[in-house]
Symmetry: C2
Subunit: 222 residues, 2 copies
Amino acid sequence: MAKEHDDTIASRISRVLADRIIRGELAPDARLRQDHIAEEFGTSHVPVREAFRRLEAQGLAVNLPRRGVRVASFDLKEVREVAEMRAALEGLALRHAAQHLTPAILDAAEEATREGDAASDVYAWEEANRRFHRLILAPSDMARLLAAIDDLHAASARFLFSAWQSGWEKRTDHDHRAILAALRQGRADEAAAILQKHVQWIGRAPVRTASGSTREAFAIVG
Amino acid sequence: MAKEHDDTIASRISRVLADRIIRGELAPDARLRQDHIAEEFGTSHVPVREAFRRLEAQGLAVNLPRRGVRVASFDLKEVREVAEMRAALEGLALRHAAQHLTPAILDAAEEATREGDAASDVYAWEEANRRFHRLILAPSDMARLLAAIDDLHAASARFLFSAWQSGWEKRTDHDHRAILAALRQGRADEAAAILQKHVQWIGRAPVRTASGSTREAFAIVG
DNA sequence: GAATTAAAAATTATCTATAATTTGGAAGGA
DNA sequence: TCCTTCCAAATTATAGATAATTTTTAATTC
């Protein structure tokens, strides 16, 4: 039902490109040539340009008029910025969502945490992590806030994949469990406080650069 | 210099339409017909469509694929939501900006407050108010955060103009002065706390509806 | 009220103009 | 001679205009 009828070519292109940027298949500063992309998707450049405007708004691409669109670059400063914005907004969302959380939702969130702990690669972990956050925040029923958080999660995931392309290690997410425990006991403010700390934790990993040397990469790991 | 070289037709259209929506010249749910707008601006509909994507991302318009674009509607719930998001994000920005604030900036912010107090209509007041907030937050130097705050200010202004189309009364902004006083004394956290309260204050005003009766309208007045 | 047709509007394709970039010398200097 | 720098022509890509197509909405008929 509703197959993909409510879906324009532009939105499909923007989703696919966003995914490639997030996964690092399109590197920072890489040019996005509208005619090439149009050809790949078998369309004209018009919907491609519309997709570009969406990517710009998400902060995944930057446009230089008459000089083309490039994948947005990022640095440690922006990782920190996104972490703090997530802390502020997710804390707000959780305080509103708390009163609408049901045992069923909390159970689903715990299951997402287990799946994250069991994840064998960083992509699977990120998917489970994002699901956890979305599950406990969605009942806030604040559309604008949730959309903003989604865009921040996209940025987070990009930082994460950039740092941990390989070498992912399983670990147990104690923060998620502490958040769920607090929520089960109706301690919403405590849960929000843990969440805010949790989201601001920035992990670091050594990354092999193109030139063979290694540098440190940073990413939000919550 | 640099006249409007770094400016596309699409961005100009999106700015003009955003302004009309914010000022209430384009009412909620009003249809935005791409061909009509294209004709008005003396262009084709292609840049108009790109402008629509930007308005969508700002939350000022909604797109129903193949059925056209409409001005986004809003309600008290969204006014509250925007107020809380502004509180969260402006608080964050101020805590980062505080250490970079100079006496010159604080003087300029005080001047903006005076201009707001002296404003004779709601449009002048909003301009001065926005300038105050931008002045004290910009030194945080967090581009993504400031862009998000700008979009929330646009939404705020729309709510305000919708409620106070006429009947604006001068008043003295004690909150702004308390914020500046705290900042001058280096009490950043206190300033941020006042700002957060300030931004969440929702004023109400009676509004004459089309049918002649009156209803209450709500808006962020900080 | 359901079905059919006509009109309007959105989406996408194709085409054109213009700006930006690259390339290929030519001139000048060491 | 070799290298660098500068300029102009050629190439490439973006931005926008115009044209074609599909979809939705309205009107009309049965």
